[in-house]
């Protein structure tokens, strides 16, 4: 291991220990690690955005508009001048008298976001999910193919679709805003919140182990890479 790699390893280990120290309490070492993280990450993202967004998407498209009037996606290259104008209008915020112009690119962005997500959520979250939930309460034909004996067989044969339908419908009842959760409707909403609690509990339990594996990865780094390097040094 050369000296620069060895030094990088020591810095990585010290930063790891500094961040972990936060679990005890806030301390100057954590503050230093936090400050390094803020500065380096902000610089990292600006650089990446500059070289991967600004240069290829804006500069190259506009500067090469003469030789390449259309981009690979079929968009007129000079159309990116509009993006340049919107970006400059955004920067006019720095000048108090012209700051009002920065609302225009914000309006474009917000309006475009609203329009795009309207369709995306409608398709993927509403229609697809509803189509997948169109199930028979009892599928007599599939029952013959269902496996398992005793109570297990009963679960597999009868409960699946019924629980999904009841859970989805009562969950939607819980989110209903126009009626107070009282009486029969309140009972349905209560069943809905129980299903939501099962959902939350299942998600919680499912992610616990994956979180543990992240910690194990870090411990592995400290034990198998950093600790031996203290004794082996650099060459």
């Amino acid at each position: 291991m050369n000296v620069s790699d060895w030094l990088a390893l020591q810095v990585a280990a010290l930063l790891t220990l500094g961040i972990v120290s936060f679990l005890y309490k806030d301390n100057p070492i954590y503050k230093i690690c936090e400050s390094i993280f803020l500065g380096v990450s902000a610089g990292y993202w600006f650089t990446v955005l500059f070289w991967e967004n600004m240069v290829p998407k804006l500069y190259e498209n506009i500067s090469q508009a003469g030789s390449r009037p259309y981009t690979e996606a079929g968009v007129p290259s000079l159309l990116y001048v509009v993006a340049l104008i919107l970006g400059i209008m955004m920067l006019l915020r720095l000048f108090p008298k012209l700051g009002w112009m920065s609302r225009w690119p914000l309006s474009v962005v917000v309006g475009a976001t609203a329009g795009l997500w309207f369709i995306t959520y409608m398709q993927s979250n509403a229609l697809s999910q509803l189509r997948a939930t169109l199930l028979p309460i009892l599928d007599f034909q599939a029952m013959d193919a269902a496996t398992g004996t005793g109570l297990s067989g009963w679960f597999n044969k009868y409960l699946g679709n019924l629980v999904i339908l009841v859970g989805t419908s009562t969950g939607l009842c819980y989110f209903y805003f126009s009626k107070e959760h009282k009486g029969v409707f309140g009972g349905l909403a209560r069943v809905g919140i129980y299903f939501l609690m099962v959902t939350f509990g299942a998600s919680f339990g499912y992610t616990v182990m994956s979180r543990m594996s992240l910690l194990l990865g870090r411990i592995d780094f400290m034990i198998s890479e950093w600790w031996p390097s203290l004794f082996s040094g650099w060459s």
Binding site: A42, A126, F140, H181
Partner: protein, 424 residues
Amino acid sequence: MALTLFGVVLNRTGWVWLIAGWAALAGVAIAQPADMQMWSVKAQDRPSDAGDAVQLFWSPIAPAAEFICYIVQRAPAAEGPFETIATVVSIDTQYVDAAALTGDVYFYRVAALDSVEAGAADQTTSPADSLSAASPARTVDTIYTAVAGPVNSTAQWFNLRRLNQFLVIIILSAAIIYFISQARSGKQLYVRKIAGLQAMEEAIGRATEMGRPILFLPGIHDMDDVQTIAGLTILARVARTVAEYETTLNVPVSRSLVMTTARETIKEAYAAAGRPDSYNDNMVHYVTDEQFGYVAAVDGIMMRQKPATCLYMGAFFAESLIVAETGAEIGAIQIAGTAQPAQLPFFVAACDYTLIGEELFAASAYLSGEPRQLGSLKGQDVGKVMAMCALGLGAALLTLHSLVPGWPILANMADWVGKVFQVR
């Protein structure tokens, strides 16, 4: 021919011989080479597209077992020259030519191959070797269809395959707009209480009494996420209340565009509350775009400034657990709202109140109390009723069909309900 072969003998033996003769003739016909039977390809502009594709359909060649694949050929003229554009396995009898240019005229033919070598040899065909439409010729290992065309690909102005989605959107939007106009005309609309939103003012009041700041996190996504927009609309309401109470507001953000928008939002909220001089640009400050860098800084702010109230409204990911746990540790009252289903359990576990999914988007309407905004919530409820009715209808039809499979009308009706929600 049969009469000539077997004569017209109408006694019983004769009829038997006659029938046997026709059967023998049919067997001979089947045993004839397949090129003696006509098979064709149909080419048409693909509907509801941008004019960049042509659809081809052909009947399967018989006997199919002799042939291993089809090759699709295209030419600018009926005479050729034809070039091979695709090879299709023998079980498929359709192909979409997605390389067609809008407005250009094309001619197509399909060839069935019984060996790969024959296909390689037939990559291009000269006009002299091309087929006439009346009788397809047969080369050694290749059978060609008649030429189909001319066909040109055109762009359509409406995608009919998405008609169902269009109608659903129209109905839902009409319901929302209807209730907005109802509210505008003065009709009182009831909206049930949402605990997390009712606690918002109490939480802000708590921070004021304790003399500690309020921390608001609008999520870690940029303005191209609708959750961030929802978070900022809630920030506007919160900022107005904070301005009235003269509490300190701290809004660290992870995106520069969100910083710009949040500043505008809070500035106007303070002006609307009659306290424009109390606004300070430093209320909203950019931290870093990096997810865990942001949460490291937010944790530091929480531990050092010890805000009394923490509001998390927007798109959160793995960092949701870290901020919520840190907030719980400092004893802050926490109200969270996100539409990320995977993060809701952590907010539910660690926060005092959680706005679950849809409640986040309803929050700004709820907090404003403005009738037009509340009207839109009623429109949302129409969508839920539609969804529940569709689920009930679909379940009933499919269950009946499962019970009585001999009634195809039930399956057709259930299939139709499914098509309403089909996504293309």
